[in-house]
Amino acid sequence: MKGKEPNKMRLGLCSRSGDILEPMITPQWYVNCNNMAKRSTDAVRNGELKIVPADHEKTWFHWLDNIQDWCVSRQLWWGHQIPAWFCKTKAEGETVQKMNMADNDRWIVARNEEDAKEKALKLLGCTEDELVLERDADVLDTWFSSGLFPFSVMGWPDNTDDFKAFYPTSLLETGLDILFFWVARMVMMGLELTDTLPFHTVFLHAMVRDKEGRKMSKSLGNVIDPLEVIGGCTLQALQDRIAGGNLPPKEIERAKKNLQDEFPVGIPECGSDALRFGLLAYTVQGKDINLDVKRVVGYRNFCNKMWNSTRFALMYLTDFQPTPTLLEDLMSSGKMATRDRFMISRLMKGSEAIDENFSNYKFGDAQQAGYQLWLNDMCDVYLELIKPTVQSKGDEKKDARWAAQATLWVALEMQLRGLHPMMPFITEELWQRLPGRGTLGEDEKPTIMLAKFPEIVESYKNDKCEESMTLTLEIVKACRSLRASYNIQQRT
């Protein structure tokens, strides 16, 4: 013994038990992944498999180019028991043992016990009476079955209708933390077993952390159940949930304290639409999403705005009857004012932005496009501009009034469809409430979720009207600011 000195080091802990890991030599089942890994990297290199965002390709290559054989057995009870049997004769007794590597050739892999028995009898050349057949007690690594998921859910290995119709799948969307453990294994297993890529695109979203950038962890009390945001939750209920879990008392106290600091009055009821819309807003960030639940809560107010403005707009539409081809009718009516053309033009561009951003997996930008269109273009500008026209009852403004009503109806209806994928509930409810619903002919769908996503007509875009509208708004703004500077009261 010659003394000790402090030394920096890294310890591996078992994430399930917290125990310090031990490197041990044990007999396990392995899958040779070399060829599968090569095919998986080739697929990305030759563009057959697309990884979005593309910077994660590096990680893909790094892992798969340095692939190790995959240890697929686990000494657990819960899982798929390994379909392998150890065989020997009664006479051999303890001289042949399954943990003994010298007897490794006594393992039989089979699809069921019957087949295993048959193979064993052949191998040992003994009678059924003499045979000792024992199934491996171990189970398979969880990732073994989830690696088959895209085709096992379709009925593989049977050539079912689902398998024919729905395999390979289109997209795999997940968090980037399981790119290797899950995504790579699906690709490897898919290529090896079905000779097909299980999907042609992988979209990886950033990892959600709390607003301080900490990983979501039960012991920090920052794991929030979506239902607690959707339906709202008191602080007491949040803390009770923590207390009811499996955490040690010390961690329960810490988690409770954190909840108390973060949500002193609980979480307000936000609804699913606001939660989804708020979460999508966060996807513009890079690697990690530092999620502040309060910001999600803020989007509940956008739902409120949608509700109130639709309710308000419907008061202008009480005597309005839409046609099945309202937009075309409106555009060819010759009755439209600049403001109407502006609104339709903005609608085209806004809907197009949502569509394009969805195509490029830019959900934050899509969300913003929908948000700005509703709030700025429709509520702040268009609804204000048409007030005098739609309120007038006289005959001289009849055409202008119809055009404004039709534009408003089109604007509401099309925006609801554009927002539906992000906010399914409120858009359905408001869409169902639009006047004329159920009278719009054969092509009218019973639900917004089957209605067509907004289609863009290039010729309906109108830069000139938008420019002139922008100029008008600038003038209005300047006047208002002058009025404010000179403290001139508004005449009522």
């Binding site: 031990e22 390994i82 803020g298 019973p446």
Partner: protein
């Protein structure tokens, strides 16, 4: 909140609130403010910011302060489950109430079969008119958190968008049996409620309990997904332990075997002594120790030398192996002293002039008396580190394992599956848990009186061009006098 780099950052909550308040129908009867005030507030300049911030929570405290806040009326859903909401009968409420708005639609969409994938219709269609996606199956007994909600939001947005574009659409839901995660949860619960381990129950009964647990808690996720509005085809909901998926697992295992890709081998891997199982890399958390650190080890009875019973980590322990038939000693250093019980070699660098004379010789294990070869290994050994001599435990260290393979060394596993020293570790230590064994080995080594004249205490290696200079500090016997030995190696 980090919003830098955001092309069009979403407004802060206050601004959204202010926007909502312009219609004068914001919740909670906030005082109406002029547009200018609101704009100021929206920009965050207003002093009265707090007033337009949405007020939430149902705490009794708040209600006593703001008496005008009416508690929300209990929502009674007039629509029978699965039926379409009749908008002609439900008045357009004054204020937006998410609970009322979101009620019934999910059930009706599902009941109407709008989520259902149509295999016949999808079969002939080109790839760009199809959108098929499987859910990343969450742990069946778990509960979704906001990270999952983000996944769901992104996935369902894409699915609904494609469906509205008229594409053949299928979004498959499912859950994962999540081996270790689920087993651990049920085991913890079993210990907490009944003070039993899975071994007390036996395998069959334990598995029955896990299925029971799944039945009880497995619906949480489906409830959550339904609340989130996920338009998954519930008729195709799958669980990785379903018969259909289990059949696929057996088939895959057999096909790998038939293709010669599957084999059984004895290799070094991550082992959890607490679980008594091999575990995958994803189930490993790492902690970095800056230096000497005391840690609690749950599977151990506790270190009697520490008031809190914790064990010492982050320490490099130096000890010496006597060279066979010689007065010399080889000093090695390790952070895992107990593994010396399974040492089967000491490695030196082949070009290290300090040890050239020892190539092919042996050291003697101080406890077992086993002859241990001195091997040369340029891959593993860094001449400049420590004494340049490295103890090799091929059965309990990944680098040593590879070294063992290169030199065809003996692999001695010294631990039982639950982490106690086994009979290979020697009678003196057998049955002692691994970190208790660390202490025991240290004490036992201390007792071994050093009868050898010298050992290398400290060494520095300097490389100047092709010239390598070794400076060594040697100690002789118990004498503190040190001398510097310089080797020149050209």
């Amino acid at each position: 909140m980090t919003e830098e780099g955001t092309p069009a950052p979403a407004p802060p909550a206050e601004a959204v609130a202010a926007a909502a308040a312009t219609t004068g129908e914001g919740e909670g009867g906030e005082k109406k403010l002029s547009k200018n005030q609101l704009k100021k507030l929206a920009k965050g300049k207003g002093k009265k910011e707090k007033k337009v911030k949405p007020e939430w929570g149902t705490g009794a405290k708040k209600e006593s302060k703001k008496k005008e806040v009416k508690p929300k009326e209990v929502f009674v859903n007039p629509t029978p489950k699965g039926e379409k909401k009749d908008m002609t009968k439900i008045p357009f409420a004054d204020a937006y109430d998410p609970e009322a708005v979101e009620a019934s639609w999910q059930d009706w969409w599902e009941e109407s079969g709008y989520y259902k994938g149509d295999a016949q219709a999808a079969m002939g269609r080109p790839d760009d008119e199809k959108f098929i996606m499987v859910i990343p199956p969450p742990n069946v007994t778990g509960s979704l958190h906001l990270g999952h909600a983000l996944t769901a939001a992104v996935e369902d947005t894409l699915t609904r968008w494609h469906r509205m574009k008229g594409h053949a659409t299928l979004y498959v839901p499912g859950t994962d049996h999540a081996g270790i995660a689920t087993q651990s949860v049920v085991e913890k619960q079993l210990l907490k409620n009944e003070n039993k381990t899975r071994h007390d129950l036996g395998r069959e009964e334990f598995i029955r309990r896990v299925w029971e647990w799944k039945g009880e808690y497995g619906t949480r996720i489906t409830t959550q997904l339904r609340s989130l509005g996920s338009s998954v085809d519930w008729s195709r909901e799958r669980f990785t332990m379903d018969d259909m998926l289990s059949k696929a697992v057996v088939e895959a295992f057999n096909r790998f075997h038939e293709k010669g890709l599957l084999y059984r081998a004895n290799r070094l891997g991550n082992w959890s002594c607490a679980l008594k199982s091999a575990i995958s890399d994803i189930e490993v958390d790492h902690i970095d120790l800056e230096g000497r650190t005391f840690l609690e080890v749950k599977t151990h009875k506790g270190n009697p030398d520490d008031p809190k019973g914790r064990y010492e980590f982050g320490v490099l322990t130096h000890f010496a192996y006597p060279v066979e038939d010689s007065d010399e000693q080889l000093v090695v250093a390790t952070t895992r002293l107990e593994t010396m019980l399974g040492d089967t070699a000491v490695a030196v660098h082949p070009e290290d002039p300090r040890y050239t004379h020892l190539h092919g010789k042996f050291v003697i294990h101080p406890f077992s008396g086993r002859k241990i070869p001195i091997v040369t290994d340029p891959v593993l050994v860094d001449m400049a580190f420590g004494t340049g001599a490295v103890k090799i435990t091929p059965a309990h260290d990944p680098n040593d394992y590879l070294c063992g393979k290169r030199h065809n060394l003996e692999f001695i596993t010294i631990l039982t599956p639950d982490g106690a020293i086994n009979h290979h570790g020697g009678e003196e230590f057998e049955g002692i848990m691994r970190y208790d064994a660390r202490i025991a080995v240290e004490k036992a080594l201390d007792k071994k009186v050093s009868v050898f004249p010298s050992f290398i205490y400290y060494s520095i290696v300097l490389a100047i061009g092709d010239i390598v200079i070794f400076i060594e500090l040697r100690q002789y016997g118990d004498c503190d006098t040190a001398c510097i030995v310089v080797y020149l190696h050209v």
